[in-house]
Symmetry: C2
Subunit: 696 residues, 2 copies
């Protein structure tokens, strides 16, 4: 190894460790310093960041390091050998298990959805009965104290759970799931602790009277359940099973989490088809025909589970379980007969809904930015904030019916405030039902979420009235169109605030003026086909890159040629195996014998071998290791002169983590650089080329 | 130009002209000979073909030459210059026009759907009234003669329309639309004459009492309307408009035709959401989030148009228009209350439906193969065949109620035989309604079409009963799973019979054992960056290739390098412009001045400059032309050692027409070959490697 290694500044999303020579503990210390620095800073992620810090983002309420997921089909000798040796029985195992997991996701999400409702209805029901009993005895002050006390207690419990156990569970959860399905990985997004806090936190929060949408927590819960199942067993807890090994890759996990997201919506609204469409329209970034079929199965299971439990509960065995079933808001509209003037009214309603929705999104943006400044000050302040808000909402919800007893119910309320009006309280709200309340709700939601088809189906499944369909479609189309002129959908906005590096499906116009070569920054770290252990270790320590190009040189090839790309995780497994040789010779066959493909399978999130786990002796640093068996020999490549727009679309369509940029002419080194998710982020590109006007 | 040019056997789907030196007229003669040869042969496309003939397929009832569509973003200097010069107003024009077209497609398809129903109900109503009047006078023989006479007359008219005007309109049409959206182009698939015959032919055919599904003709009609709008004007008829120029590319046309297919289903079943899902699940091969939104708009328009017309017709101004509205089969089920034993019954029904569906598909396959042998014998035989079948069905439908007056209606009938039982005839069928008829129909259709989600939604929109949803989902899932074990869906089967080169989304297992280099056949035809006119003309005449790699050599570059790919259609435009130079020099700037991007825009199907249109003089053959402005400088490339499976998935995901295979090592010519749709067809690969067992 005579080639000098240099450090590249921009290889992958995850490169917080790329400064100087650090050993494992130093890295840990450095990492915690980085995140402390971010926490202590007033606006770490809310101000426009330079590219070098985009390897962290807010997940839930805390700052986390983030990585990209590996969706590429990795073709190395070891995996090829594994494919060739697979028999029909193993393919059958794989298919059967995939369906079994879809079934389990459906069952699990259905159960959680049912549990949440039972718990909320019992806790909130107890609270409201207590309050109304005191009120009927004219003890108004005591009633308010009981009401507010319950609310504050419940809210504080929820906030404490969230702050101390899993900050990743804070917030809606949909932006995080959306980012995960776009290829952004952070261990905490879908961790078991997140699942636990999400379930109990949302039960407590909703019981405390917070206006919390059901769909966010349920989508996040469904995704967490799917992720838990998709871990491919655990060696630590001896939960390994031969069948599970096929699930240790990001592609299968992505499919399962898509099913989980669909199941979440299905459980929240008892809308199985709406769930499928939500997954397609809003959650998933990559879609295959097979997925339609699988998500459909999962949501059908959810629907059947929920139906079974509701039938059980109608016998009165579920405590304070309302008659309305799991549909918390019964939006049964009057039979719709509408004419031309109605359509004009609907158009007007759509425009109003679009404007209101975009204003709502604007305020959500502002409020979240303010919240996150407070959140960064520490857990105690978070809880205090929650208690304050809880007291305020208690006053409002207790006081409001007194101030204006008979105002017409705002049209939005029937859907966006699902917890209001349950279990017999506030029966004084006499809303003029029928047609326009639903359409107003649809219009507002269309303006906020900007999902048309799935919202339409969800509303359809809630109302069970197909005659309304054309009107709902019309109002949703108009409100989305109007609102799109002002700002983005609420989930996209939150993604941006949180700094999650989301890849858009389209390229920005200014990307047409640049070529792929323009955004490749810094010199490249490459390996030889047979590389010295010390060099590899040095590169792993000094950079945070997750992919390294391998270049074969004479005597292994006639001229320097791009052999492929190796992943950091595979290098770590190989190094741990210590299959070193004293001389620079090809020992690939030996490696193929000693390792199985399973050893290199992607570990569950947060697991896998770390750099600190390696124990390489000084004399081993001088030895060589043959990388050929683990090189992905056919990485996706683009020529350096391809426009950045075309490269970005390719990168996104294929769901890549690394894309090699190759030179146009021969006689130069066979690779120009590597593009990652990070290099396509507008902040990065506009940082490199500040003269570009992104609005032009 | 000192490099020898060779002829490649396998460049593109369209290469029927690749034998020897032919001029324009000779090519025409040769082409007609080829298709005659195929017509006169007993089984031209039904026997397993070798790859060299897969450039033709059966479209409708006739054999047609087929090409691939260009979905790639072509980046040449001319187009880049055009992009850069586009202003906001032009982007606004483009967006506005796209929505306007979506509106027009919806309006057009809705109108046609309404017209079809009015026409069928009036013609068939007249026929049935005549028959039943005669029957009520006990003139049974006269009644039969009138009934059969009407049927035969109508059927013969339909057959004649189809045989003499547009054979492409024969059959369901869904397989052809599916193939088009997969990237297979034949002028006749969506031609205006096809549209005309499809509308009137299906009206006559349905009136003649044939059991014709509505969805096929309506999907084909919708797609034809979309294609007509997407032509980007016509210079011949002076229908050019500056705004339309942006639609002269295959990507925008694909989007519009997807909208058309969705509109077709929406109009056939008055199921707007079902239409969107049909387009997603069954019709489209490539899907983007934006398309969901656009197809949804189109089907909403269809729904509103149909509703308006139905309201108009309820006033009695539409002749013999039934009360049932456009839903020809009123499958209103009894209110469903189901328990555990019912679910067992449903599972049983699903299995039965799956088995029956796959048996049906088996017979469809056999019948179609027999039909197409007869069809190839000429138009007169086609018409005779139709008349015979019409007589037979007349006898059956007239005689059947006499033989068994009170047999329970077969469960399938309620959906699969939409024309039976209309306008007051056969009222003696007293089917036990309720729940299981619908579920049986769903089960059978699931077994036949293998679409789950869209069928579910369509049935839902027909029945307007959401409580049935879980059961319908269950039965569809089971019947699809069962039927998938036996054979493919009916549309996929027809695609295969017709020889349409459909690209599957997944790779076949044996493709993992091959690499990209293995299927590249024959030496390659390449051009220099500045090429002699004679060489280009020779290559265009002697091959049918649609893409040619261009290699720059010294003095234009330091070493030979792959400059990109030029398309045949662009070469023809450039040659027609006669921008030749005496010396081998770069004249690109001059060309950029003389041509606009619009000149190279893809012409509507069947149009565009042909080789015969060129008029190159002998002295011009020695001159040079600079190809650089029209070279797609960043074609998608894969390394020769990439597995064929990975290459196939890449090819399909990106919707490519040409994929360049580049050598792994430097010092060799910069391109190994070009892969096209054709090279990924199982017939081609298994022809090259007969020892591979595709079932392993």
């Amino acid at each position: 190894m005579d080639q000098e290694k240099n450090v590249n500044q921009s290889d992958d999303v995850h490169d917080i460790e790329n400064e100087g020579l650090l050993d494992g503990k130093e890295i840990e210390r450095y990492r915690s310093e980085v995140s402390d620095k971010n926490l202590s800073n007033t606006k770490p992620l809310l101000v426009k960041r330079t590219n070098t810090t985009s390897q962290i983002a807010i997940v839930g309420a805390n700052v986390c390091p983030i990585e990209s997921l590996d969706y590429e089909i990795i073709e190395n000798e070891l995996f090829k050998q594994d494919w060739r040796s697979r028999k029909k029985i193993q393919i059958f195992q794989y298919v059967l298990l995939k369906w079994a997991f879809a079934l389990l996701i459906g069952l699990g999400t259905g159960l959680v959805g049912f549990f949440n409702n039972i718990a909320v209805e019992n806790i909130a029901g107890f609270k409201l009965l207590l309050t109304s009993n005191l009120m009927s005895e004219d003890k108004y002050f005591k009633a308010f104290a009981a009401y507010a006390g319950c609310n504050v207690g419940l809210a504080a419990a929820a906030a404490a759970l969230c702050a101390f156990i899993a900050p990743a569970a804070a917030g809606s959860g949909i932006p995080e799931v959306k980012a995960y399905l776009n290829g952004v990985d952070a261990y905490s997004i879908l961790a078991p602790s997140t699942l636990f806090v999400k379930i109990f936190g949302s039960v407590l929060g909703v019981s405390a009277g917070f206006v919390v949408g059901k769909e966010g927590p349920m989508v996040h819960t469904g995704a967490c359940i799917a992720n838990l199942l998709g871990q491919g067993g655990s060696r630590k807890y001896h939960l390994t099973w031969k069948w599970l090994r096929y699930f240790k890759n990001d592609r299968d996990r992505r499919d399962m989490i898509t099913c989980g997201a669909a199941a979440g919506v299905a459980a929240a609204f008892r809308a199985p088809v709406g769930g499928v469409l939500f997954a397609l329209e809003e959650a998933a970034s990559w879609w295959r025909s097979a997925l339609l079929w699988r998500t459909f199965f999962t949501t059908a299971v959810v629907a059947i589970v929920l139906r079974a439990f509701i039938q059980y509960c109608t016998t009165g065995k579920c405590g304070l379980f309302g008659e309305g079933g799991l549909i918390m808001y019964d939006v049964s509209s009057a039979n719709a007969a509408y004419s031309a003037p109605d359509i004009l009214a609907v158009i007007f309603l759509g425009i109003i809904g679009g404007i209101l929705g975009s204003i709502y999104n604007y305020f959500v943006d502002k409020v979240l930015r303010t919240y996150s400044i407070i959140n960064e000050r520490g857990a105690v302040l978070k809880i205090l904030l929650v208690i304050t808000i809880s007291l305020l909402t208690s006053c409002c919800s207790f006081g409001l019916p007194w101030i204006a007893k008979c105002i017409p119910c705002p049209t939005e309320l029937s859907v966006s405030c699902p917890t209001v009006g349950k279990s017999g309280n506030y029966k004084s709200f006499q809303c003029p039902s029928g047609l326009f309340a639903l359409l107003g709700a649809a219009s507002f939601l269309g303006g906020t979420m900007r999902m048309t088809v799935s919202l339409c189906i969800i509303l359809l499944e809630l109302t069970n009235d197909l005659l309304l369909l054309p009107l709902v479609m019309l109002v949703l189309l108009i409100s989305k169109t109007v609102a799109d002129n002002f700002n983005k959908g609420v989930y996209d906005q939150i993604l941006k605030i949180k700094g999650l590096p989301y890849l858009e499906a389209h390229a920005e116009p200014y990307m047409r003026h640049l070529v792929a070569r323009d955004v490749v920054s810094g010199p490249l770290v490459t390996f030889s086909g047979v590389e010295q252990v010390g060099n590899i270790l040095h590169a792993l320590r000094t950079t945070g890159h997750n992919g390294f190009p391998v270049i074969d040189e004479p005597p292994f090839s006639e001229a320097p040629e791009l052999c492929g790309v190796v992943l950091r995780s595979h290098l770590l497994v190989l190094l741990k195996g210590k299959n070193f040789s004293m001389d620079r010779v090809v020992t690939g066959d030996d490696i193929l014998q000693r390792f199985a493909a399973f050893d290199f399978a992607k570990a569950g999130s947060g697991k896998g071998i770390k750099l600190e786990d390696l124990d390489i002796k000084v004399e081993e640093m001088e030895m060589y290791i043959d990388l050929h068996p683990i090189i992905n020999a056919s990485p996706y490549t683009v020529v350096e002169t391809m426009s950045l727009a075309k490269a970005a679309i390719l990168f996104r369509q294929l769901g890549l983590r690394h894309m090699c940029v190759v030179p146009k002419s021969q006689g130069r080194p066979p690779i120009v650089g590597i593009l990652t998710r990070h290099d396509f982020m507008p902040e990065h590109i506009l940082g490199l080329y500040p003269h570009i006007n992104p609005d032009k």
